[in-house]
């Protein structure tokens, strides 16, 4: 089960990377980066679930907050400088 989920998440990360490189506009890259961050959150949760430890769960909280702040800042940047 863990292996299947890991493969699915790796595929998702690769696809988000494709969009990150293709662009074509800044918001597209922001969307891809946000999705990549979601994939990372899911991967940390998956690794915590696979070794039954709650230690790395707190990391997910911090990364989720950072992702929200990053999206907000980049949206402000787009609004002031254009895409």
């Amino acid at each position: 089960m863990i292996t299947i989920a890991t493969i699915l998440l790796s595929l998702a990360a690769a696809l988000f990377m494709v969009r990150l490189f293709l662009g074509p506009t800044v918001p597209d890259r922001v969307i891809a980066l946000d999705g990549l961050l979601m994939t990372i959150l899911a991967a940390v949760l998956l690794s915590a679930a696979s070794d039954d430890s709650a230690v790395s769960i707190d990391t997910v909280l911090v990364v989720a907050l950072l992702g929200f702040i990053g999206t907000g800042v980049l949206a402000r940047y787009i609004e002031q400088r254009g895409g």
Partner: protein, 114 residues
Amino acid sequence: MDVVAGVFLVVGALFILLAAVGVVRFHDTFSRMHAAAKAPALGLLCMTIGAALAIRTAQATVVVIVITVLQLMSGTVGAHILGRSVYRRVRPDLRGPDELAEAETETSADDAAR
């Protein structure tokens, strides 16, 4: 119980993969945002439920609930902020009627008057 947790984890990963496919395949920014804003929220919800079922301690469950609530709130707000700035500055080719245009001119008139 571990089987249930595994199923939740796989379903969550599947939803995130669906979002990634949508982000690559759709052909304008708003469509991509539509795929990227909703599906990962459900995917992450499934992943957190799966992780909570696998770890099964009170501390992990509380943190996982906080993560879920935070993600559901910040995901929607973030998508809204990004969508607004894309609508105002990037202006991708919209298909169909633009129902926001009227409200948006009123808002900018208000901003100018202020």
